[in-house]
């Protein structure tokens, strides 16, 4: 098994006819993801990805005609919140929003609508998720992965690739890698992903890649201490040397007045049984030191 994406994923790509949407849809399809539909208003009736994927005007039509059960959104920031709402209202259960630059207040009503509908939104401004050997949704390069049983969850993009590549190079494969996104308002938190991993029988170790700012890593650590005590766990926190009060690109990466510091996160993670790496390359070694065998 795996979480969020897998062989059962029947993916709709919202914004499939855009430059980014098409590029990544192609990469997802090449990886083996079942892309059953594309959607771009006004382009219904066309076919995308060399004719292999039907394009619809509305998500409702795509769902009705193809049984799509997950969606990946590449719609520009101005239309992305609406795209999420359309997916939710049309019965899509798992939605990945890759779009970056969405004003934070636009997402406030959207995440609430997602919650009320009992759907799951990952992102926005996230790289997506990959269940190696099964499916990838989003923009994580497929080449960094290896099939396996370590669950990876991260706030950032390229840093995740770095960490996953290090694992793959060391022969450690992943059950699912999830990038939750670095925006202020996101649909799925570290804790949400840990809960999913806890219920996944094929995930036998965990890697958490956090950043300074906020308290999401601490919250996740506290939960893991109680519910994931028995499996090997490693972590990495970016921004240990970032100066206070400066915003390092990610909205999350700002520290003020001692809260959200790397030190507080490292302490919380270590207290919860995570081995915390000083560099992404140390993660494989720390997993093994924590008892991971594969």
């Amino acid at each position: 098994m795996s979480i969020l994406v897998g062989r059962e994923t029947r993916l709709l790509v919202q914004g499939i006819t855009g430059r980014e949407g098409e590029f990544h849809a192609r990469a997802m399809q090449a990886y083996g993801t079942q892309i059953v539909a594309g959607m771009t208003p006004g382009k219904g009736g066309q076919r995308a990805l060399d004719g292999s994927v039907p394009v619809f005007d509305t998500v409702a039509a795509a769902v009705r005609e193809t049984g799509a059960n997950a969606s990946c959104i590449f719609v520009p920031a101005g239309g992305a919140p609406d795209a999420v709402l359309e997916a939710v209202a049309s019965g899509i259960g798992t939605i990945f929003c890759i779009t970056e630059g969405i004003p934070a207040l636009d997402m406030v009503p959207v995440v609430e609508a997602v919650r009320l509908a009992g759907a799951r939104l990952v992102g926005p401004n996230c790289p997506g998720a990959t269940s190696p050997g099964r499916a990838k949704v989003g923009i994580i390069p497929g080449s960094v992965h290896r099939e396996g049983d370590v669950g990876v969850v991260s706030r950032s993009g390229t840093l995740t690739y770095e960490a996953v590549q290090a694992m793959t190079d060391a022969g450690i494969g992943q059950s699912t890698c999830v990038g939750i996104g670095g925006d202020p308002i996101i649909g799925t938190t570290f804790l949400d992903v840990l809960r999913l991993f806890a219920d996944d029988p094929e995930t036998r170790a965990l890697v958490l890649i956090g950043e300074i700012g906020g308290a999401a890593e601490e919250e996740a650590a506290a939960w893991a201490a109680e519910h994931l005590a028995d499996i090997p766990k490693a972590a990495f926190i970016a921004g240990r040397t970032a100066p206070e009060g400066k915003r390092m690109g990610h909205a999350g990466a700002i520290i003020s007045g001692g809260s959200g510091t790397a030190a507080s996160k490292v302490a919380a993670l270590e207290a919860a049984g995570f081995r915390v790496a000083g560099s992404p390359t140390e993660i494989p070694g720390l997993l093994r030191a924590a008892g991971y065998r594969r």
Partner: protein, 392 residues
Amino acid sequence: MKIQEADAKGLLLAQGLPVPGWTVARTAGEARSAAESILAAGADRVVIKAQVLVGGRGKAGGVKLAGSADEAEAVASAILGMSIKGITVRKVLVAAAADIVKEFYLSAVLDRAARRILLMGSAEGGVEIEQVAAERPDAIVTVHAHPHLGLADWQARDLAFRMGLGGQLKAAVAIAKGLVRTMHAYDADLVEINPLAIVREPGEGTIVEKLVCLDAKVTLDDSALPRHPELEALRDPDEEDPADALARAAGLTFIRLDGSIGCMVNGAGLAMTTMDLVKRAGGEPANFLDIGGGAKADRVAAAMGLILADPKVKAILVNIFGGITRGDEVARGLIEARAQQVRDVPMVVRIVGTNAAEAAELLRAARFVTAATLDEAAAKAVAAAASPGSGA
């Protein structure tokens, strides 16, 4: 984006909030004439406040009272040009000194954990809220605006009662709702009034008590600035590092730091990690620089220009994990940038991921120093910075 007090007050006023009048002065003479008008209108004293984007200006001597135009000129003269946390004061706000009965604190902020707008109030205004939060957390009361319905009147009333503002209920409700309205109108992620104060003002033949916003702090969501072009004008060019403006124009995220190793990375998390590893290898990063996803050659060249413009930079570390970004594009940008480089600074390049093989070939042909891992790249860059002339 942070904006200055006077601009923040302007936004609040535009949303109908009660903000006493003010004037912005750039010279002591302007401050003097502003003070003259205010004193002539009946005020006993004026307050003169440094307009800078850093906190703690009161402690730094950037906020003073004056009882006469002469005194106002002298005070303004002392504050203008003063350096507060490294920022030179170029403007002051001049306003009538309020006759304060009691000070409160009220703010609206985007609460990431709860994913909704949080209103935070306290009867202990005029001091730093972080201090109140640390010392007497019970003195802070909060309420979340509903993510779909907004801040209801009853929530604003409830907050006001708990803040001890039951005697100014209508005004407090209007202000609390105004803060949320201000957040939405300008896509602010923070709107803070400290102090929110009950002041005495001359009314119709008598003294009346009024609830007013005596200070204002607003920070704007950078992601939303494209839809508020008028707010871009509030960015203070005096206070901004010229490099920031260049970076913004080129689509880069750049933060100048104190070290000697220039960093160019794609992705914020990886960029922070690169800084961390430079430090771990014994070096000091000269900057945080995220070239973003899908960076093309021209953006790489612009980034290189920004790094080299910093004379402290003694070595450059380029770390690219290609996903959306294509490694060969970055390599071409680097080769081009080096060709135009006036200053000979050693460079260590690591490019992995999408089109890494093509990139490696280009870099090899151009005789760049490369590294396979990030740790290795950091170590090489630190070594290069330590022994000038040893690099590329």
